[in-house]
Symmetry: C2
Amino acid sequence: MSDAPTDHPAPAAHPELSALALEPYAPKAQRAIWLQIYHRLAEAIERGCVAPGSKLPGEVQLAELFAVNRITMRRALALHQSEGRLQARKGVGIFVRQKPRHFEVRSDMTFADSLAADGGVISTRTLLLDRAPASAEAARLFGLAPGAEVIRMHRLRLLDGAPIYLSRKEFPPARFPRFEADYAQSGSVVAVYRAAGIPHYRRAETRVRGGLASREEAEILGLTPKTPVQHVTAINRAPDGAAIELNRGCWPMASVELVFSEDG
Amino acid sequence: MSDAPTDHPAPAAHPELSALALEPYAPKAQRAIWLQIYHRLAEAIERGCVAPGSKLPGEVQLAELFAVNRITMRRALALHQSEGRLQARKGVGIFVRQKPRHFEVRSDMTFADSLAADGGVISTRTLLLDRAPASAEAARLFGLAPGAEVIRMHRLRLLDGAPIYLSRKEFPPARFPRFEADYAQSGSVVAVYRAAGIPHYRRAETRVRGGLASREEAEILGLTPKTPVQHVTAINRAPDGAAIELNRGCWPMASVELVFSEDG
DNA sequence: CAGTGGTCTAGACCACATG
DNA sequence: ATGTGGTCTAGACCACTGG
């Protein structure tokens, strides 16, 4: 097959990859071929040979490049997806994700402050704000009857336009009779706290639990399903000790580091 | 548990699995077959139909049971390995792991206390105790010249005989001139602290970062390589503020929940 | 429509652990 | 020597996305 360069409109054919693919593989069973391909790709991505955001050649083309079967090629690609370096979109292609920035999410800051401290442009999309039956944990935490209503909010945080953090919050309605109005005005939960007469609050407890992204989480965060994620549950309390927020967050595992230090 | 590491030779044919395998699959493309098999297996394991520690039928046999190709079967099995429910050993078989207990590892306790609080039998194996050049982070933390020697210790924690936590510690030698002797006598790092005139210490900082197990980590912890794990870095300081320990821990992601609360 | 990634099959060879 | 899981291939069909 002569590689006739028909007018490819975009991705520049990635000559870097071709070079990588030419080296012979290490003796068999030394390391699996798919792992060797994985490492070569990792190096190419890490060194920036393939630009973040750019589209890779198709799987079949890559498989030809590296002279392996498509299935073998897919194993290398799949591992990179697990680690957050690549992102495949069905019917579209495989893309190099923005270099996974490691956010330091500090227990003594709001997440927004933690993110902003890193120098990126953070934006927020409120996906959902309504009233719904409390989750079991929220009901217990807020001292509500099972099935009682809470204020529910889903928000997506984006860094330079790319989804980076999904949070699902519940609030006790008794404390926030005007939640929707206050939030609409400020767009800030801390402002809602203030408006409700809670000038200060404290992060009373934070729990971290690893898992694999559900289909829904993966879709919202732009991840491959079953990618490892961090589930972070945080409880905020008012100075009087009452719980005022239960927050369940979800981060791509590869792009966050949680930092807990003893003083604020 | 009376389930000693000695292998019971009888896999018992797992009639439960046969029953699961008989149900027809959902209409095509509703959910992938391998995912359906995955869910059936998950349910069987969760309900205890297949005993923890027991050996599953071989892959070929399983593939026959579920009437799919071996590759397809392997996808279902692989996901369970990622989630810590199954563990494959080459040349041996696939085993059901002990039900993943979720340890609450609290920032205000030693890990040992966190574990013991859960009611399991915790044992410790000291894998390594020597002096070696400091890691970059340890040198900076302890204020040593790059390449200076530190005391290095690797320990493995086991719950009921099963590996559950790997820790790799570094200590500044100046603070602990008799580390080896003190540790040999007590087997406890806290006791070494005391013997060195540090009756109290504080966990100054804890960092949590998800990742995939390296080959070495996987081997020590009895995991499939590239299984998701939690890397926990902790810094202990003496009352005078000086760092006395840098600890890098590694947990199977599926079996730990890290809890940080504001008061001890 | 054409091209993409996602799934599935049938068969093969290998390295490894066990008896 | 046997059976195990790990790897790899060749070819096929599907669902989805985009122009």
